[in-house]
């Protein structure tokens, strides 16, 4: 069955893919050879800074999560890049579904920054945080669709109430993961696997590791998929907070 790849034509997506590759290298850099401020170097190396900042905005909290997971929070130059990206591409106002998506993403970004000791209260363009009441009740399909787009919020510093809501719907998240795999929605599947990896109960869920293994094989050509898988692995091996 032919699958139509979901892509957004233009100049930003290549930058997003390139940044995801860079972050994947940073995630695998156990000894810290990559050094700090890799976001600053990435955006500077891009031919157009606004395009580099666009990539930073699209990946959201994931631009900081790899270094934070390695215990080496972003430096001042990287923070300045993230702040510039937020200002250049401000979150939409209102209470639409799209605006809510940005709210949750920005809350996840802010929590990583705050955990590293950064004060984000004066950041222009950052959406105000919201409670996880936005998560759809009942049907598993809308829930899985929303969570797959919010994979960047699945990190150890995520809002406790959000994590509890997701934990209460683990079976539905797993359903969404199985469906995404069947539909070859690799990025969506990787995002849902990451949510399951975040608060994995133990070895009673062999599906997560199997799914990640499969995604790492079939998603070889997509750095965003591999980045999600890499972070998910780190979340599973990380000691509970």
């Amino acid at each position: 069955m032919p699958i139509t790849a979901s892509s957004v034509p233009g100049t930003v997506e290549p930058a997003v893919q390139a940044l995801a590759s860079e972050l994947l290298r940073a995630l695998d850099d156990q000894e810290g050879h990559a050094g700090g401020d890799h976001l600053d170097r990435f955006v500077d190396a891009w031919d157009d800074r606004s395009r580099g900042l666009a990539a930073v905005r699209v990946l959201g909290a994931d631009v900081l999560t790899p270094s934070a997971l390695r215990g080496a929070p972003a430096g001042g130059a990287d923070e300045a890049v993230v702040r510039a990206a937020v200002r250049a591409y401000p979150a939409p106002a209102g209470h639409s579904r799209g605006a809510t998506l940005w709210n949750v993403r920005d809350a996840a970004l802010a929590r990583v920054l705050v955990a590293a000791g950064t004060d984000v209260t004066a950041w222009e363009g950052l959406a105000s945080p919201r409670s996880p009441g936005w998560l759809p009740d009942g049907q598993w399909l809308p829930l899985a669709a929303d969570l797959s787009r919010l994979a960047c919020a699945a990190h150890p510093w995520a809002d406790a109430a959000l994590r509890e809501r997701v934990a209460a719907r683990r079976r539905d998240v797993a359903r969404g993961l199985a469906r995404a795999l069947l539909r070859r929605d690799l990025l969506g599947a990787a995002g849902l696997a990451r949510w399951l990896a975040l608060d994995r109960a133990g070895d009673d869920e062999p599906m997560v590791e199997a799914a990640l293994g499969q995604l790492e094989i079939v998603g070889t050509g997509d750095p965003r998929v591999l980045l999600q898988c890499g972070i998910a692995h780190r979340l599973m091996t990380r000691a509970p907070a």
Binding site: M1, P2, I3, T4, A5, S6, V8, G10, T11, V12, E13, V16, D48, R49, S50, R51, L53, A54, R57, V58, G60, A80, V81, R83, A84, R87, A88, Y89, P92, G98, L101, W102, R105, E124, L141, A145, S148, R149, R179, A180, L182, R183, R184, D185, L187, G188
Partner: protein, 76 residues
């Protein structure tokens, strides 16, 4: 036009770049196209039925459950 954030200077993004950022953040799952083409689903269903599944195997389980997959794809 240029903007300044702390010590970080950048050119103001274009409308196209802003639109792309919004599209990428709200990116939906890829689709097979089948769910938007009921006729294609019906055609495949007829082809499967005309293939005369073997023995007493329920038709919905034939060919690795293809009909179930089609029904699911059409339903969602």
């Amino acid at each position: 036009m240029s903007a300044q954030t702390m010590a970080y200077a950048y050119e103001a993004p274009t409308t196209q770049e802003k639109d792309q950022v919004h599209a990428l953040i709200g990116q939906q799952e890829p689709h097979s196209g089948l769910e938007h083409s009921p006729r294609a689903g019906i055609l495949i269903l007829l082809l499967v039925l005309s293939a005369d599944p073997i023995g007493e195997e329920p038709v919905e389980d034939a060919f690795d459950g293809m009909i179930q997959k089609l029904a699911h794809a059409a339903a969602v």
